[in-house]
Structure formats: structure tokens, C-alpha cells
């Protein structure tokens, strides 16, 4: 039925993840449900970043802008227009894609660190403008009113199952897009641009179009995650969604898991999110900031020892076994 082993792994994973909320007591209202939902959400966020930065090689620290636009899309629809997030989220995605193209078109001229610092500046500009833009809440942010539970309002209070399934849907969407890219011509174009723009151009790849479309796709998927984040927290304000901290999360999760790989963003989220949530919940009594110190140390060690992250580690072990002749299946 499935063409190869990668397919089996993928569909098997979806099946297991889908069944979880139907096993009583696993997700429900538990803290584990929260952590599982966050793993799926952050994995999807990191994967959306991976499209432009991993596959296409344009390291952006500005993804929290698109994430934030998506969050504001959903929240504005609900809070300011008494409408449903189902209308706000797609509008947010469109807006994010449009903004990303407008911003990126000039910025793609910049190379290396110049590009990275330009994206920092963009986050700061958006953050501070949203802070003083009073029609969308300004520094006060937007708070959700209490709405009836259910899929219509995409809001639940007693159980996490709905949120979990929502996050899973986003996860599947984003990862499927990347699976499609990997197998499609688009994937080859992206990698060609990453490996060298001039060479790619000489092979007839229009690098500007490739980069802009990858950016627009990446931004709109990040915006979808943002809309979910607003729904999940009943609130949105600029420091919460449009900050360098949030941008760094996109980057760190992907890098830790393995940049430019399919499973990397998921593995990164699988390690970082529980670490973050459980250390905060159960270690914060050790004293202020100990969890974040551990966090920083892990990042340093990963960067020094294995810049390809967890995927690099896995490849290293599997290759070594092959080399030892211990068996290739």
C-alpha cells in the first residue's frame, strides 16, 4: 500500500497521533495534553520556517512577524468583529503572505548576516508599531470574551482534545506541504538556490520567484500557527507573538532537531518543548532562571558538538553501525 519506508513512518505516526485523544485520560484536560499540543504546534511552526531557511537557505529571524499577523487575524475577527476565527485565520494567512513578499523582495538582495540583521530590525519595527496601533488593541492587546465551547468558536475550556486535534491538523498540513516540496520540482529549485544562486540561475531557475514563493508559503503557514496560538491563549498582544524571543523559537527548534531535514523540526520540538514546560513546572523552585540556564547550555553544546542537531546525531549513529558492518537492513 505504501510506496516506501518513509511513507510508512509518516502514516504510522499520523495514525498514532490521531488515536491519542480517543484513549481516555491521555490528552483530556491534562498538562500532558497541553505539552503534546504545544509540541505539534511548535513543530509545525519550525517546519514552516524550515521551508525558507532550511530548504532554501535564507536564514530569517523575522518569522514572529508573520506568526503575529496570523494571531491578530484570528483575534481581530473574534474580538473586534464578533465573527469567527475561521474567517480571520485565512485572512491573516493572506496578509502574512503579502507582507512577507513586500518585505522580502528588497531584503533578498542582502547577504548573510546583513539579511539576518535586517530581519531583526523588521521584528522590532513591527513589534513597536503594533504596540502603538490602538485600533487593534495597541499595548493593551486583545482579550477574548468567554464563548461557548466547540469547533465553531474553536475554543474549549474543560478538555484539550479539540485543540490537540486542531494542532495535529496544522501539523499534518505543514508537514505534508514539505513532503510535497521534497518530492516536487520546487524542492530541487529550493535546494539549487540554497547551494548557489548563480549556479541555479544558470540552470534556468528563476531564483527571485523561487525565493519569494517559498517565503510567502512559509509566512502563511506560520500565520496559521499564529491564529491557533491566539485561539489557544484567549489573548494576543505584541510581546507575546511578535518578539525576537518568539522568532528565536522558530530557529532554535529547527536547528536543534536538524535544519533542512523533514523530521528535524518535529524532533526539535519533541525535545525542547517538554524541556521548557517541565523544567518550568517542576524545576523553577531551584531558583530563578535555572531552567533557562540549562536551556542556554544545551544550545551551546549542540552548536559546538553537532550543528546538524538531533538528525545529525541519528545519522552519525546509523552510519557508524553501517561502517562497522553491523547490518544494513
Amino acid at each position: 500500500m505504501f510506496k516506501n519506508k518513509a511513507d510508512k513512518l509518516w502514516y504510522g505516526f499520523i495514525a498514532v497521533a490521531f488515536i491519542l485523544p480517543f484513549v481516555p485520560g491521555v490528552i483530556g484536560g491534562s498538562f500532558f495534553g497541553h505539552v503534546a499540543t504545544m509540541i505539534l504546534l511548535y513543530a509545525a511552526m519550525a517546519q514552516s520556517w524550515n521551508i525558507i531557511s532550511g530548504y532554501c537557505g535564507q536564514t530569517s529571524f523575522g518569522h514572529s512577524v508573520f506568526f503575529g499577523i496570523g494571531a491578530y487575524g484570528a483575534a481581530l475577527a473574534v474580538v473586534n468583529f464578533n465573527s469567527l476565527p475561521w474567517y480571520g485565520a485565512p485572512l491573516g494567512m493572506l496578509a502574512a503572505a503579502a507582507v512577507s513578499v513586500v518585505i522580502s523582495y528588497p531584503c533578498f538582495k542582502l547577504k548573510g548576516h546583513y539579511f539576518a540583521i535586517a530581519t531583526f530590525a523588521i521584528v522590532e519595527i513591527f513589534n513597536r508599531l503594533f504596540m502603538i496601533w490602538d485600533t487593534i488593541g495597541g499595548a493593551l492587546g486583545l482579550d477574548y470574551p468567554i464563548l461557548p465551547d466547540g469547533w465553531k468558536n474553536f475554543s474549549w475550556s474543560d478538555t484539550k482534545n479539540g485543540y490537540y486535534l486542531g494542532a495535529l491538523a496544522i501539523f499534518i498540513l505543514v508537514f505534508s506541504v514539505v513532503r510535497w516540496i521534497e518530492r516536487h520540482r520546487m524542492g530541487y529549485y529550493l535546494r539549487a538556490v540554497r547551494e548557489g544562486q548563480e549556479t541555479a540561475e544558470s540552470l534556468g531557475v528563476n531564483s527571485a520567484v523561487v525565493k519569494l514563493s517559498a517565503m510567502a508559503l512559509s509566512a502563511s503557514l506560520a500565520a496559521l500557527c499564529g491564529a491557533f496560538f491566539a485561539q489557544y491563549n484567549y489573548r494576543v498582544d505584541p510581546p507575546m507573538v511578535m518578539s525576537l524571543d518568539m522568532s528565536m523559537k522558530f530557529v532554535l527548534i529547527t536547528i536543534l532537531g536538524g535544519i533542512g531535514t523533514f523530521w528535524g523540526p518535529f524532533l526539535g520540538a519533541l525535545v525542547l518543548i517538554p524541556l521548557q514546560e517541565y523544567t518550568r513546572a517542576y524545576l523553577s523552585h531551584l531558583g530563578a532562571g535555572v531552567d533557562l540556564m540549562i536551556f542556554g547550555l544545551i544550545i551551546i553544546i549542540v552548536m559546538i558538538k553537532q550543528p546538524l542537531g538531533i538528525m545529525g546525531l541519528i545519522r552519525y549513529f546509523t552510519k557508524r553501525k553501517v561502517a562497522k558492518g553491523e547490518g544494513d537492513a
Binding site: 519506508k5 518513509a6 513512518l9 484536560g29 491534562s30 498538562f31 500532558f32 497541553h34 505539552v35 504545544m38 513597536r128 504596540m131 502603538i132 495597541g138 499595548a139 493593551l140 492587546g141 482579550d143 477574548y144 468567554i146 475550556s157 474543560d158 496560538f229 489557544y232 491563549n233 484567549y234 489573548r235 498582544d237 510581546p239 507575546m240 523530521w263 524532533l267 519533541l270 525535545v271 517538554p274 514546560e277 517541565y278 518550568r280 513546572a281 517542576y282 523553577s284 523552585h285 530563578a288 532562571g289 533557562l292 538531533i310 541519528i314 545519522r315 549513529f317 546509523t318 553501525k321 553501517v322 547490518g327 544494513d328 537492513a329
Partner: protein
């Protein structure tokens, strides 16, 4: 090779999953768990830690036999015939999304009866929304955003005076000065950090000023954590208002005061919301430069001597050993909320959330740590007896100047200019 790769991934996943599920929950008899959700790390951590210490001090007063303290529930051990209160600490880092998920963890996982929190108004909002949806009690000590009690929540109770109440009091004080002392204050300048807190305060200040005919000539929001406040203070100086209302926390407050000194300008009167002004540590570092500023306060050691003798006992016995400093007007209110909650539980006679909430909504509670001595909540959860006084600082001493009922000293007015100090 693919199988190897897959199995490694699988092993990693299983490991991670088992790690997550291994979160334990201990259950002991006769314990009432109360969550204390505060910013224990991040920019507001000092205040958050003070708040937790205040809650812990209140818990000690209730749990242990304290015949020396004349407060409800102090004399005998525990409440409800032997129940003890256990405080479960949680950290929201000053982030609304973390506050929301930690509130859920406290209610769902730790099974706390109620949560006390959360200092930052922006964190209190989503955390109390969790409580309201789950029909659980949320007790809020010192978050000051007026919006919190305008949501018509049924399970939310707040002790502190709001920005709205404080703004009205500030303006009343100015009217009093104009009438009694011929102060001639006609114009008002606002300087505030552009955050949820500062913005709310400024909005209320605008409303109050409009009501009494004060003209707002300068409205200066600034980015908190700025590298300098030169342009901000220069803008104030150029507009030269008679009075300034300030909302700048911690380091921004000292930077603001120092920058005003640098440009050699002062308004006739400067009144601060709940900010760096109330922090004795900040004032100490400003040395004499912080003198003659004013601010709203719900607690000061001097006020406590006359009006809250029991609070001083509690402070000496349980609070100062933990935090090495006296109560401040923020932290003390969090302890008050635990006392109020415990009294409501005792009156209800059981741990029935509905019953306890009903008592909280209707009854009036004596409170030895509140300036007004009592606490009663109106619909929406605001404490109708919320009270703050205006103090003026001189030589690290907060002297009450208004309302007249509590007055301890005549105000130094207008503020002594920099070159005459």
C-alpha cells in the same frame, strides 16, 4: 539502515513520552491546595517573589497556632477543623501564554482549590479567564488594570484599587491643593511605559483629568527598558505641565528621575502610580534625588504603625525572614487575598467552590492587612473598600499627605528645585 534509523527515532520518542508521563501527583489528607501564580523569573521577578513570600506568610499564620496575632484564623492551627493550606508555586515569567497554561496546570493537574495571582495585569487576564471557564475561584491581589473587574466574571475577586480609583484620587488631591493652597495647577503631563499597565493608567488619567478640567498638555509613552529617556523628558520639559502623573517601573523610574535632574526641570507636583516610586530599593539608590515625589500607596511602615499593628507582627514573624525586607503595597495584598479566601472557606464549612464563591460575593471580611480594615467585593469582583493614600517621600520615608484622615505631614509643595537641594 532505514530500519536502524527508524528504530532510533522510535526509541527516542518512547523515551521522551515516558519522561513526560512520569509527572507525579501526591495527595495528602486534610490539605487545601492553593496555587500562587506569579512572575518568579523575568523582568518582574522581584515583585513576583515578594508576592509569593507574602502568600506563604499568610499561609503560616493560618496553618500554625499564633495566639500572639489578633487576626481571623490565626489563633488555632489550620482551618475547617484541622485542614492545612498548602501553597503550590507556579511561575508565569510575565508572559500571558505561560500564565494561561500554568493556570490550567494548577487547576487540572495540581488540583488546587483556587489560584492567587498574578501581578502583571496582562497575565492575570488569561489566567483568570481559565478559572472563569472552569468555574474555579481566582483571587487577585494587586493587578491594577480596571478592565479586570469590568468583565462581569463570577469567580474573580480583586483587592487592589484600580488605576481608575487612583487616578480619581490623584485629581482630587490636585483639586484640594488648588482650593486650599492656591496651587494653581492647570496642566497635566503623563509619562508612562507603553505597556498594558502604563497604557491603562494613562487612559484613566485622561478620563479623570477631563472630569475635573485639567488640561493634558503632554502625553508621553515610552518603550520600557529604553537606553535613555532624553527625548521623553525633553518633551515633558518643553510642554512644562504643572503636574505630572508617572507610570515607570524599576530602572525606568530611576532613569526618569535622573534625566529630569540632568535637564534641571521639575513640575510643581509629580504623582506616581504603583511603580518604581513605591520600591524602597529603588529610592535608596536614587538617594536624595527621589525626594519630594509623590505616589499612591496601600501600605507603608508608617501607616501600618497606626492603622495595621497586626500586619507588622505578621511581617516580623513570617514575611521579613523570607524576603529580608518589609511588606510593600503590592505584595501585602496577595497575602490579604489568602486570608479572605480562608475565611470564606471556614464560613462555607466545606470545600464547595460554589458555596465559597457565593460567600465571597456577598459577605464582608475583616482584614488586618488592609488599610481600610475590611474587604467586600462588588459584582465583577472589585473590592469596594479598596483604599490607597498619597504619600510623599523624603529621606527614604513615605509620609502620608492625603486623604486628610490619614495625613501625617504637610506636603512639600511645590517640589524643591534641583539646585536648592
Amino acid at each position: 539502515m532505514l530500519i536502524r534509523k527508524r528504530s532510533t527515532i522510535a526509541v527516542l520518542m518512547v523515551l521522551a513520552l515516558s519522561l513526560m508521563i512520569c509527572s507525579s501527583a501526591f495527595a495528602a489528607d486534610k490539605v487545601i491546595k492553593i496555587g500562587a501564580l506569579f512572575p518568579l523569573t523575568g523582568p518582574a521577578a522581584v515583585s513576583g517573589q515578594n508576592c509569593v513570600n507574602s502568600v506563604l506568610a499568610a499561609a503560616d499564620v493560618i496553618n500554625k497556632a499564633n495566639p500572639d496575632i489578633n487576626a481571623p484564623l490565626a489563633a488555632k492551627e489550620g482551618l475547617l477543623n484541622g485542614y492545612k493550606i498548602e501553597i503550590v508555586k507556579a511561575d508565569h515569567q510575565g508572559k500571558p501564554d505561560v500564565a494561561k497554561s500554568e493556570a490550567e496546570r494548577l487547576y487540572n493537574q495540581e488540583k488546587v482549590f483556587a489560584v492567587i495571582g498574578s501581578y502583571n495585569s496582562s497575565a492575570t487576564k488569561p489566567a483568570s479567564a481559565v478559572a472563569e471557564r472552569a468555574k474555579k475561584i481566582f483571587m487577585c491581589g494587586c493587578s491594577s488594570s480596571a478592565a479586570l473587574t469590568e468583565r462581569d466574571y463570577k469567580y474573580f475577586f480583586r483587592h487592589a484599587p484600580t488605576d481608575a480609583i487612583e487616578s480619581k484620587e490623584f485629581v482630587e488631591y490636585i483639586e484640594y491643593l488648588n482650593k486650599e493652597k492656591k496651587a494653581g495647577i492647570k496642566t497635566l503631563g503623563l509619562i508612562y511605559e507603553n505597556t498594558e499597565f502604563g497604557k491603562h493608567a494613562a487612559e484613566e488619567a485622561h478620563k479623570a483629568a477631563k472630569h475635573s478640567g485639567l488640561k493634558v498638555v503632554a502625553d508621553v509613552p515610552f518603550n520600557n527598558g529604553a537606553t535613555n529617556l532624553n527625548s521623553e523628558v525633553q518633551t515633558l520639559k518643553a510642554a512644562n505641565p504643572d503636574a505630572v502623573f508617572g507610570a515607570a517601573l524599576g530602572g525606568d523610574y530611576s532613569l526618569w528621575v535622573r534625566t529630569m535632574k540632568q535637564v534641571n526641570w521639575l513640575p510643581k507636583i509629580a504623582i506616581n502610580y504603583c511603580t518604581g516610586y513605591q520600591n524602597p530599593a529603588v529610592q535608596k539608590e536614587l538617594a536624595g534625588d527621589g525626594d519630594y515625589f509623590m505616589g499612591g500607596m496601600g501600605y507603608s511602615p508608617e501607616l501600618a504603625k497606626t492603622f495595621m499593628p497586626e500586619a507588622i507582627k505578621i511581617e516580623k514573624k513570617y514575611y521579613t525572614p523570607r524576603s529580608n525586607q518589609p511588606f510593600d503595597s503590592d505584595s501585602i495584598q496577595e497575602g490579604v487575598m489568602l486570608f479572605v479566601l480562608a475565611q470564606a472557606i471556614e464560613k462555607a464549612g466545606s470545600l464547595d467552590t460554589e458555596k465559597v464563591a457565593q460567600i465571597l460575593r456577598t459577605e464582608e471580611f475583616p482584614s488586618v492587612m488592609s488599610l481600610s480594615g475590611k474587604v467586600k467585593f462588588e459584582p465583577g469582583g472589585q473590592n469596594v473598600h479598596a483604599l490607597s493614600v498619597i504619600t510623599q517621600i523624603k529621606d527614604l520615608d513615605y509620609k502620608t499627605v492625603f486623604p486628610l484622615k490619614y495625613q501625617k505631614a504637610e506636603p512639600v509643595f511645590p517640589m524643591t528645585p534641583w539646585d536648592k537641594r
